[in-house]
């Protein structure tokens, strides 16, 4: 591996990310599965770093899941998106940051389509006016929430309490990064570092002390793939993709996985359980899985957030061995207590996966 070569490519895929003043939109999946990640994003950017990140309860889904599942036509999806952009304009913002990769991809696709087909943009603007009485607008800068954390990675590192380092050996942790397919594979120029060697998560890991693992199936999809997961008869295919990734990363003995997409952490995490229960195989140390994190969770961990406040108890693969490795203290007794101190109930112990 020639690091200089990668740097050359990264240098070619630089994207302008404004420092401050963003209109924030959430992710449907993340709100449900990783609510703490979005909360942490807002807490870090607003309270720890003092940025202006605006959010309104009036924003909706981007329509991406329905669009990619062939449930709604493109025009509908575009009108939904136009409404989101119009809200941004209405609240006086021109930088748009979204939490979801599917949304990010769809926004990029929509903006490119409008650029190529102005008549379609015109039509969507009319739709918007007819349906919502909102003024059509396009963001000046469109970024993904991970782009912002990437932008702030040094500031976060400066405020960090822990490093991604094995406290026993002093060696940097071996981290696998996984980028959502729709982040830069459709439009390599829209992602930090491009599509072949994306830098957005690598930059964070490097800034926070970890070591990146470059394994052969790094570019491969997590296995979500909308239709492949939603229909039960296709799930074996979804699972096979995840399985392929883990088989490929296994020889590199990664300590953790960091992701920037709503579906990826979910599937990389939960399918480890299903693979363990159907194939009898686990990929971490001593029968554990490889813990999977969102970038906000990792940012939260290095900044010293309580692991249970980051929602890590909702992960299928137990995070404790990794916390021990880094030396992050946690109270096992509080793992299944809610914010209000009430017991949330404890899940059953899996057969294979520790």
């Amino acid at each position: 591996m020639i690091y200089e070569g990668k740097k050359k490519i990264w240098a070619e895929y630089q994207k302008e990310i404004p420092e401050d003043h963003y209109f924030y939109v959430r992710s449907c999946i993340r709100q449900s599965f990783f609510p703490a990640s979005e909360a942490t994003f807002l807490d870090i950017t607003r309270n720890k770093l003092g940025k202006d990140i605006f959010e309104t309860e009036h924003h909706t889904t981007c329509g991406g899941i329905a669009y990619h599942s062939d449930a709604i036509p493109q025009e509908t999806a575009m009108t939904i998106i136009a409404r989101q952009f119009a809200l941004m304009k209405k609240y006086g913002y021109e930088n748009y940051v979204c939490s979801c990769i599917t949304s990010f991809g769809l926004y990029c696709e929509t903006l490119e389509t409008w650029r190529e087909f102005p008549e379609l943009q015109q039509k969507i603007a009319e739709n918007l006016w007819k349906t919502c009485h909102l003024e059509f607008a396009k963001p000046k800068f469109l970024v993904h929430a991970s782009d912002l954390i990437f932008k702030y990675r040094m500031q976060i590192a400066a405020k960090s309490k822990y490093k991604l380092v094995n406290k026993n050996t002093g060696e940097p942790l071996r981290v696998v990064e996984h980028i959502g397919c729709h982040y830069s594979k459709m439009f390599p120029s829209k992602g930090v570092g491009g599509a072949e060697y994306p830098y957005v998560l690598v930059g964070m890991i490097e800034a926070w002390g970890g070591q990146i693992v470059d394994y052969p199936e790094r570019r491969h999809c997590c296995g979500f793939g909308f239709r492949q997961y939603f229909i039960k008869s296709n799930r074996g295919y979804s699972l096979a993709n995840t399985h392929k990734k883990f088989e490929s990363m296994e020889p590199f003995k990664p300590d953790m996985i960091i992701t920037n997409c709503p579906g990826c952490p979910y599937f990389l995490d939960r399918w480890q359980y299903v693979i363990a229960e159907t194939e009898g195989k686990t990929y971490g140390q001593d029968g554990h899985g490889i813990p999977v994190f969102t970038y906000e969770e990792v940012a939260g961990l290095v900044m010293g957030y309580d692991p249970w406040d980051l929602g890590l108890q909702t992960h299928q693969v137990s995070v404790e061995p990794l916390l021990d490795k880094i030396g992050i203290p946690y109270d096992p007794a509080k793992k299944y207590l809610g914010k209000n101190g009430k017991n949330l109930g404890q899940p059953e112990k899996p057969h294979c996966l520790k």
């Binding site: 039960k232 008869s233 799930r235 074996g236 295919y237 699972l239 096979a240 399985h243 392929k244 299903v274 693979i275 229960e277 159907t278 194939e279 009898g280 057969h351």
Partner: protein, 108 residues
């Protein structure tokens, strides 16, 4: 083990690292023409057996090179050795001997 109603789909990917090169070398030593195929498809196009069943020397050779010897044996199991492929092969491959050699080496 739990039955979820689905499991990891088998991979269709060819893994050349796992292909049995030793057997193929043996085949090439026995009939060097095994290396000469340029995948034109004349053999399968003219094949008497292919009119009835999936039969193709071209694909059988490819399968062997890809380490899928079961596929190869299946693709040749209907062959009647009529020799039309020998007559039409533009590379002059001795297809009948090649087929016999494949069936002998790989059916064991």
């Amino acid at each position: 083990m739990i039955d979820f109603g689905f499991s990891v789909n088998p991979s269709s990917r060819i893994n050349l690292d796992a292909a049995d090169g030793e057997k193929f070398h043996r085949l090439a030593a026995l009939e060097p023409d095994a290396l000469k195929c340029m995948a034109c498809g004349s053999c399968s196009a003219s094949c008497s057996a292919a009119a009835f069943e999936d039969t193709s020397l071209r694909r059988a050779l490819l399968s062997l090179q890809n380490g899928l010897s079961d596929d190869a044996a299946k693709l040749l199991s209907h062959c009647m050795l009529c020799g039309k492929c020998t007559m039409v092969c533009p590379r002059g491959i001795n297809t009948r001997h090649l087929i016999l050699s494949i069936l002998k080496i790989y059916s064991l």
